[in-house]
């Protein structure tokens, strides 16, 4: 049977796996963690879908809200497809057992998130992502899908055919437990490895695993990435820990206040606008707070239990009677591996889905509730497409040779001199990125960060590992993640320098307005850092 390998076992990867299996492929899911530990479990707010047009909402409005938030940079056809599929996506999640919150009329409960015309986000208290991810995992067990845990992606194995077209024939991974390089053959491969917000290190709401591995690896293999400069900053992360307080807190009527106790922004604007307003206030020397006291104890306990727990644990704040100190933090990366309408990269047989991919539905700024939606809608589509492609492909190549090369590369890394602590450099880049490649950017600062990143890249052989062992060497894995982030960091800055305008999450102090003539287009970048723009 023809096999499809899926790298990454978050929501996108698991939906893709179920879909590929349904389409008749042999499916193997490979993850660097375990499926239920993926970033998807952190999604709280909900999944957007217009379940009924009775209350004045419509699929058309969902399309329009998404396009507006995207600031002219989303592909209308892709957005339309996603919004039309949304009710089916939610119905499917309901059919496999996701524990959505319900209304008194036995309907799936929905709430309003920023930038939405109506309550449209289907939710499960504030554990929406957790419950979706775990139910998908259970479904994969029901279908007998093979899941290989704790294997870290090294390379997509590619080759050129007689027409000089690159195609993928498998993957290589580092088995974290044994320390051995392993190769797996597949007719098609789906990348579902998540975003790259961890480049912002302590200024990211994300799991420590969101290191952009799949994107960096796909670029190395010859795929292209697009819109990398667009990074969404969530307005309400806890001040000290950058842990996310869900948008549902604002959707339910929470206020954002400055030190004087004044509201200064419409809390329900899209995330880019709220984050920018907060950033302006912080620049004036204000401390910023989220105020949900007026929502009442009962409401907070019922609808926002996780929020209350996190505020207590990390800030020692009781949100029912105290203000929650917040700051914006890197939350979602709109850019990713560039894919066509079939979720295919420019490498034959290599597909991408979820946050690591750019389906051009979020444009310059993602709407809350659209990422869980994207991963279900495009996950279902990509699984089918990858399975179809695999059926019609017949290429067998020798995997042994690549395995030896990669094993040698790992050995070489272990010989790096380790004079410089890469963990310190990682933190340093995170700080620089937050300050200069964050909510506000300008040419000089971007150029300075680019120089720093390139300098650090050049001294990588002076970094390396102090732990040279084989078994579960987290020092090695973290170094490999650091290398991937470093590669992406350079491409993000190049993309940000080249986009001499402001649009959505990309705000240039030196070019404060949008320039539709030159830049109402997607930036496409390759492994050499060459940029072009495409409508």
């Amino acid at each position: 049977m023809k096999s499809v390998i899926i790298i990454g076992a978050g929501g996108a990867g698991l939906v893709a796996a179920l879909s590929a299996k349904e389409s008749g492929a042999k499916v193997t899911v490979i993850t660097k963690e375990y499926p239920t530990r993926s970033q998807t479990c952190m999604a709280q707010g909900g999944i957007n879908a217009v379940l009924s047009e009775d209350g004045g909402d419509s699929i058309e409005l969902h399309v329009q809200n998404t396009l507006k938030s995207a600031a002219g940079l989303a592909d209308e056809n892709a957005v339309r497809y996603m919004c039309q599929e949304a009710p089916h996506a939610v119905a499917w999640l309901d059919s496999i057992g996701v524990g959505f919150s319900r209304t008194n009329e036995s309907k799936i409960a929905q709430r309003k998130l920023g930038g939405a015309y109506a309550p449209r986000a289907c939710y499960a208290q504030d554990y929406t992502g957790l419950k979706i991810l775990h139910t998908l995992y259970d479904r994969c067990l029901a279908e007998g899908i093979e899941i290989l845990n704790e294997r870290y992606l090294l390379e997509f194995l590619t080759c050129k055919d007689a027409q000089e077209k690159i195609f993928v024939y498998g993957v290589s991974v580092l088995n974290k437990r044994s320390g051995e390089v392993q190769t797996y053959e597949a007719q098609s491969v789906i990348v579902a490895t998540g975003g790259y917000s961890r480049i912002y290190h302590n200024y990211s709401t994300n799991s420590v695993s969101s290191t952009g591995d799949g994107i960096a690896t796909a670029l190395r293999a010859g795929a292209k990435a697009s819109d990398l400069e667009f990074v969404q900053f969530h307005p309400t992360a806890l001040k000290n820990s950058s842990i996310l307080i869900s948008e549902s807190a604002r959707g339910a009527g929470g206020y954002i206040l400055n030190s004087k106790g004044e509201r200064f922004v419409n809390e329900l604007l899209p995330r880019d606008e709220v984050s920018k307003a907060i950033d302006d206030e912080i620049a004036k020397g204000e401390d910023i707070f989220l105020d949900i006291r007026h929502l009442g104890l009962e409401f907070i306990e019922k609808e926002l239990p996780q929020e209350a727990k996190l505020a207590k644990l990390y800030e020692n704040i009781d949100p029912t009677c105290e203000l929650i100190p917040i700051k914006p933090a890197a939350h979602y990366t709109m850019g990713g591996i560039d894919v066509d309408e079939n979720s295919s990269t420019c490498i034959a047989g290599l597909y991408a889905v979820g946050e690591c991919a750019n389906h051009r539905v979020h444009g310059a700024n993602r709407l809350g509730g659209n990422s869980l939606l994207e991963l279900v809608v495009f996950g279902r589509q990509v699984g089918k497409n990858a399975a179809e492609y695999a059926k019609n492909t017949d290429k067998n190549l020798d995997l042994q040779e690549r395995k030896i090369v990669l094993q040698e590369q790992i050995t070489e890394i272990k010989e790096y001199t380790n004079e410089i602590n890469f963990y310190e450099k990682q933190k340093f880049i995170g700080d620089l990125f937050y300050k200069n490649v964050g909510i506000k950017r300008d040419k000089t600062a971007l150029q300075n960060v680019l120089n720093e990143v390139q300098e650090i890249k050049s001294i990588l052989p002076k970094m390396g590992l102090s732990d040279k062992t084989k078994i579960y060497n987290t020092n090695l894995i973290e170094f490999l993640e650091f290398k991937n982030m470093l590669e992406l960091a350079e491409f993000i800055i190049i993309s940000a320098i080249n986009r001499q305008e402001s649009r959505g999450a990309h705000f240039r102090v030196d070019f404060p307005t949008a320039d539709d003539e030159k830049f109402k287009a997607h930036s496409i970048i390759d492994k050499n850092g060459a940029i072009c723009y495409e409508d």
């Binding site: 963690e33 375990y34 239920t36 530990r37 993926s38 970033q39 479990c41 952190m42 119905a91 309901d94 059919s95 496999i96 057992g97 524990g99 959505f100 919150s101 319900r102 209304t103 008194n104 036995s106 499960a124 208290q125 554990y127 957790l130 419950k131 775990h134 139910t135 259970d138 479904r139 067990l141 029901a142 845990n149 437990r177 799991s207 420590v208 695993s209 820990s241 842990i243 996310l244 996780q306 727990k309 996190l310 644990l313 990390y314 602590n421 963990y423 310190e424 590992l465 102090s466 732990d467 062992t469 078994i471 579960y472 060497n473 987290t474 020092n475």
Partner: protein
């Protein structure tokens, strides 16, 4: 402050005390003192289940436990240790499949009320951190016990209106399942999500009785009872 971490031998680390979580302390040790220390973490916000360890003999999430002077940190119990605080969860998680902890078929158009939803709202908050599994004493005598988190998951589906074959779910948890639990409640005490697997197992027992099963330890007394 000093904390002791069980590795190949017990290693004592001196860290700066500043009201931090155990995970923050582990990160500090790794970055500034000893890069070879192996442990797992993910979300930092108690929802991914990566960082469960034992502190002074009790299961906690490293990201939500505030570290204390003299703490003794160990890997989870009942699972093979791969290195330091990292355990291999493959066998533990495999019990989910063995227990058929999933909806048996895809169902459409089943309406759930607010009350229906509440029946397993808490159970479906499980993050699979493995704390309950580590605390469970049954594994000392039965390594094939389906275990607390898998049985909670079974109850999560049995109690759901969308599960149309409840009998099959109940059939599956008779051997190495609901009757092997000692109802000691250790699982409940360590669950970071406030789930009581013990209570879920009791509900599964009650449901088993409704389907004609009985506690096998009683069936030895009367003799002659058969199904």
């Amino acid at each position: 402050m000093k904390i002791n971490i069980k590795r190949d031998s017990v290693v004592c680390y001196e860290i700066e005390a500043k009201n931090q979580t155990l995970l923050e302390a582990l990160n500090e040790i790794k970055i500034t003192q000893d890069c070879s220390l192996a442990y797992n973490s993910g979300c930092r916000s108690s929802v991914c289940g990566s960082c469960a360890v034992r502190v002074n003999g009790r299961e906690v999430l490293a990201c939500s436990y505030h570290v204390q002077d003299g703490d003794f940190v160990e890997p989870l119990n009942n699972t093979p240790v791969i290195r330091d605080l990292v355990v291999d969860m493959d066998k533990a998680y495999a019990f989910n499949a063995k227990a058929k902890a999933y909806q048996s078929s895809i169902t459409s158009s089943v309406l759930l009320s607010h009350e229906d939803e509440k029946l397993n709202e808490v159970q479906s908050n499980c993050i699979l951190c493995g704390s309950c599994y580590s605390a469970c004493p049954v594994y000392a005598i039965n390594s094939e016990f389906l275990g607390p988190f898998s049985l909670t998951r079974v109850w999560r589906y049995v109690s759901d209106k969308r599960e149309l074959n409840k009998k099959e779910k109940i059939d599956t948890v008779q051997i190495n399942g609901v009757w092997d639990c000692t109802l000691c409640n250790a699982c409940t005490l360590v669950c970071p999500q406030g789930i009581s697997s013990k209570a879920d197992i009791e509900k599964l027992r009650a449901r088993s009785v409704m389907f004609g099963y009985m506690d096998p330890s009683f069936s030895n007394f009367g003799g002659g009872l058969s199904f």
